[in-house]
Amino acid sequence: MAGQSDPHISLFSAEEVEFMAEDELIEIVPNMRMDPLNFICGDFGPFLPQIASQVPLWLAVALKKRGKCAIRPPQWMSVENLTRVLEGERESQGAFQVLPFHYVEISRLLFDHAREDIPDMYMVRSLIEDIRDVRIHKVETSLEKFSGTSAVKIPNLSAMEVNIIRPFVGRALQAFYKHDNPEKIPDVDRASSAQTRAANNEPRRQLRR
């Protein structure tokens, strides 16, 4: 109910992209004992205190909310790595640095629910925000280069970034395609079928000659 994902505007809402990101695995350190959990997506556990274990992000967040575990932030969320990525993003105008496909969603979920588990939380957060802003700006610059029908290839874009630009890019490419290939405009079909119709109305005597 109250569905916010509008099929006319975008394929996914931001919430839906986040939902998909919640299936990514992350390491937790439980502080309780629990039997293995058998899900459709796989089996997780058994959980033992102080023994690290891999679980889907949604489960990690649910356990964390109940104070049952600590979340280990992923490797790429370290200050050194993010500083390096940010530098890389700023240096190369064309290319994008390699980051997890769901880095925007994962980082937001962790900032919301596991802030005390992230060392240098404020530094990490501002680095990720900077990276995201630089990248989105770069996407826009690369979109400016569109000038006709062409396949668009922007490697290493993340899920959320793609989702933001998808409605615009889809429409723009469609328009470019339409104006670049006027003979492929669907309307021509209509016009030409009407043309044959008109032709059929002509007296047929000539054909029988």
């Binding site: 505007i9 919430e15 959320m160 889809g170 470019f176 006027p182 016009a191």
Partner: protein
């Protein structure tokens, strides 16, 4: 059929086209200058595209280029008329146009992004796409006066240098007897879209709504759809980033009336 229920497609076909009747038609009131309820052969009227299109395919009328596709639409500058007059008055050879002076003037006028296309036709592109293929049919519609030919040709020349510089010399060879078979409208649409696309992109993602709102009034339907697509997905992302309640009152119910307090 895919477009049958499409509202924009229907509205685009309501744009008017100047036509000349080759056949008389009885029992219809579409010629305001006629006293009887019929149309005479040779009558010049404006018809909505949906009607003109079919009559044209049945060779009952000829169509000329609607005013919104003349060159001032896209170049949006009074100075272009100078060029037009220059073309008409002197009948100079067209390749004289490629002299640097004229080209530069045309390039300066390339700020097509600021032209109010919407007032020309809110369905500039859709209308253009619908009318362009009509030109490629084998029907004699050579009723377009010489001035129009020259104008259109001046347009294709100027657009030629906007869109693809190297091919400008080809343009001078492409003096066609009328717009039929000429790719003028297609080229006009593509160049207009190319130039304006960039503006829409930058405005949609970066400009504040207040600065963009004036710009929005200049956009055609297709352009503002594009702008909106960018705006909506960006603001949905920003809203998600801020957090807050995930479940909300259905927007279809309209704005909340403040019943309490």
């Amino acid at each position: 059929m895919a477009n049958y229920f499409n509202i924009d497609d229907i509205l685009a076909e309501e744009e008017f086209v100047p036509v000349v009747f080759h056949k008389a038609a009885n029992g219809v009131i579409i010629d305001p200058s006629s006293e009887t309820n019929s149309v005479e052969q040779g009558a010049k009227v404006e018809l909505p595209l949906w009607l003109a299109q079919d009559l044209y395919l049945r060779q009952a009328i000829s169509i000329s280029v609607p005013a919104c596709f003349n060159q001032r639409t896209i170049l949006g500058d009074e100075r272009i008329t100078d060029l037009n007059d220059w073309l008409l008055d002197t009948h100079k050879p067209f390749n004289a146009l490629s002299s640097e002076g004229v080209l530069t003037r045309l390039e300066i006028q390339a700020d097509a992004a600021c032209v109010d296309l919407k007032s020309r036709s809110p369905y500039f592109y859709e209308f253009g796409c619908k009318i362009a293929p009509l030109g490629s049919l084998k029907v004699t519609s050579s009723r377009i006066e010489e001035s129009k030919q020259c104008r259109i040709h001046a347009l294709s020349l100027s657009l030629g240098c906007l869109a693809s510089r190297p091919s400008k010399s080809n343009w001078s060879n492409k003096i066609v007897s009328n717009w039929v078979g000429d790719k003028t409208i297609e080229i006009l649409l593509l160049s207009a879209f190319k130039i304006r696309y960039k503006e829409i992109l930058t405005k949609a993602y970066t400009a504040a709504y207040t600065t963009a709102s004036k710009f929005l009034t200049l956009l055609t339907k297709e352009e503002s759809n594009l702008y909106e697509a960018a705006q909506v997905s960006m603001s949905a992302f920003k809203k998600w980033r801020m957090g807050g309640p995930r479940l909300q009152r259905a927007s279809v119910l309209g704005r909340k009336r403040r019943s309490f307090e």
